[in-house]
Symmetry: D2
């Protein structure tokens, strides 16, 4: 683990309004749809999640999709819907930035800026996020080693921004029973190595609705500082990631079980 | 998941004396050294573990080692030490069988017979264990898919023995920070697919002492039916797996934290 | 690469009758069906392959199958068919040994004894093959590292038999487009590290008929000492591995192209 | 393999000046240092490679490095050195683009624009390359499936640029004996699936100097349309990738052996 100059392991709390990610704080609950699909969908979701009890509203508007012909997100329009929905219920929002050209608009609207798994190795993007005055949510690359993930965070820190939240979302393995392999050992490892808070995303990690509850429990048990979970008003109609999304009732049951 | 004819998912409790592995029973604690190294070592370990509170004593006497020149275990002599140590404190024992030629002696002494990760694909061995009147502890092959692991259990069941305890012990991945990648999603998956109890071995999965506590907590949180943990009187002198072994005090602390 | 005491890299030629596997000899062609299915099938195959030009006839009679309910091979009866077919055309045979209890019959009939991928970590079997006076064909475990494969060969050598032919047959990866990932770099690596001949099996490595010709060419180009290829009179009716088997005409075309 | 609308498999030749990448043309040789380190280094290399016989000069000036504190390349200055060196000897150049903000300068100087392995999933960058009037050299992501790699190429094509050269450079595996696992089966697969030319980079794939010759031979034998090889005047002093770089004499020997 060479080359850590900034993230040497000292514990850090990352704050977003009144929400605090870190060792001495209760786990933070992030939930929402994979993609913002319409104003109605996100308004309805925000209201339901607020009532169930969630800390941060998620929703993708610039979507990295394997196929160029798949739904690519609503873009700026989606961001406006997401922001409006969040303001109505009084929640901060997180959304993904794929491209420096959207930095201004994303920085303006988002309370937390997400770097997706596919962009963890996009060092140009990481450098540019060093200059942003918002917390960065850095997902692990789908085949990133622990050291590469640490160094990706160090890129952001070295360029000026230490408000980084890490997110374990599963790594690529040899079995396709689950979408990815959730590597929970990464939670205590990354906390110790970097001092940063670590959130777990069981939705992308497993890709299977029924596994979200047991993996959420396991994540909290080994010390995760938060959970990011996909929730959709009607998962069977979702434009992306339906099979791993919970509906409102399922999310409520999950929260009660934790 | 084709071809399951016996292990179709109906819940099964596996009993060893008064110990019960299964959904409606508290987690079973299995602990002991990677290898039986001497009579004194195993007697001392058995006494200490009994006092801390353990359900099954583990100890390898036939050791599958990568190098033919590494310590291969004490063999039958070790098995006698293990049995004697267990009888003194009144614990059942588990030990690994590598070879049908040792079936008679291992069946005579062991209360639970372990199939190690390297032998999960050894179908001849699996078939022969179908005829044994002892519970089988079937570790997941280091690169076995969920389906291959299910089918390995089905081999044993199809040949007459349904008293099978599964053990997730980490799969091989692209990062060598940890020894293996602990795949906790396999716990609820295998319970649902086969109905069998699933134990987790965080020692082999991580290979790092400090990760055993958080991974043990995570395993129990997602429903594991037991934990197998390597404990050695003096890990720094262990003939194998020292870096991942706990000493007695560390194991006691772990148990208190669970 | 610790612990090599016997296979230190000195070049070794392994001889089977007049056939020689090794650096200074032309590549050896091994072909035949995945499994011996009937007397007629293997007689017909042997005759066709002899005419096309093959050095060793392969055929499985004890088959390691993922499911206990899949065809497990014809056993001793199949071995008799295989031997008879080979004798009619004057070819040596290779077949897989899965179990020490078959050692006597397999040693009696086979000219080369194969250890399959699933048994590369079966150290008991490897040790027992050290005492056999036949060349051993040691396939790489599907997730074996280079060092583990070397050590598996060293197990055989340390127990008395240095007539070992290694076989690269693909390793397990994250993509299921091909059945496995053919790791051709292993050919020069294993030749240098052990001094032993290395054969390539493009049939199991790719699982796709159309890829066998290009991968065979690549294997010979990087120095492979032989090719093992699945050939079946009628691949669409094969009891196992049909999609990766060539028919006689396809095999003839392949040989002409090499 | 859904969603291919443009790259449906029809054979395509990609032309750069007089150099042609494609099925009916001899393999194209690309060589040069991992990074442009100084004017002298690249001038010397260009002259030596021209004499040995090379078709395209490579050299990185924007370098994606795991650590933010490692040498990041000479940037625009390096690009000027590279261009000058190439013009002196009359060779086209290829260099990597990491960031849309460098698109103008890279497009101006480079004859072929490389997308590195870490950016294969950077869909914003891929889209922007659809508008460029230069051939794109698309390296496979280190853990990209065949389908994901096809779709990355389709992103570029769908946005207007079909002059794409694919490059297999090794995928991430479980063994660290080699830097990556060279997946040569990807050569005929990608040629058939997309119709595009496929080049092989044995330097990054293996990370070991001695393996470059056998893997180059294997690549050409299975139909690769070119080879990209790292050559440095003095590999032991290279600022990056020294252990896998050939010196001029080693490269000359390689070329003679092909």
């Amino acid at each position: 683990m060479a080359d850590k100059k900034i993230l040497t392991g000292e514990k850090r709390t990352v704050q977003v309004g009144k929400i605090k990610f870190g060792e001495d704080h209760p786990p933070v609950y992030i939930a929402g749809p994979c993609a913002v699909e319409s104003k109605q969908q996100i308004m309805e979701t925000a209201a339901a999640l607020k009532e169930i009890g969630v800390d941060v509203l998620r929703g993708g508007v610039f979507k990295p999709r394997t196929s160029p012909y798949a739904f690519q997100g609503l873009g700026r329009e989606g961001l406006e819907y997401l922001k409006e929905a969040a303001e109505v219920v009084g929640l901060p929002i997180i959304t993904e930035l794929m491209d420096e050209s959207h930095m201004e608009v994303v920085s303006e609207y988002a309370d937390i800026i997400q770097v997706g798994s596919r962009n963890m190795f996009n060092y140009s993007l990481l450098k540019s996020l060093g200059n942003v005055n918002k917390p960065i949510f850095l997902k692990r690359g789908m085949c990133a080693t622990i050291n590469e993930w640490i160094m990706a965070a160090e890129y952001i820190a070295a360029h000026g921004n230490q408000d980084i939240i890490l997110c374990e979302r599963g790594i690529r393995g040899f079995d396709n029973y689950t979408r990815n392999t959730l590597d929970l050992a990464a939670v205590p490892i990354m906390q110790k190595e970097t001092g940063l808070p670590v959130v777990v995303d069981p939705s992308h990690a497993t890709g299977i609705r029924e596994l979200i509850a047991p993996m959420s429990k396991a994540a909290l048990a080994c010390g995760a500082n938060g959970l990011m979970i996909e929730v959709h008003p009607n998962p069977s109609c979702a434009l992306s990631d339906g099979p791993q999304s919970l509906n409102f009732q399922e999310y409520q049951q999950l929260r009660q079980s934790l």
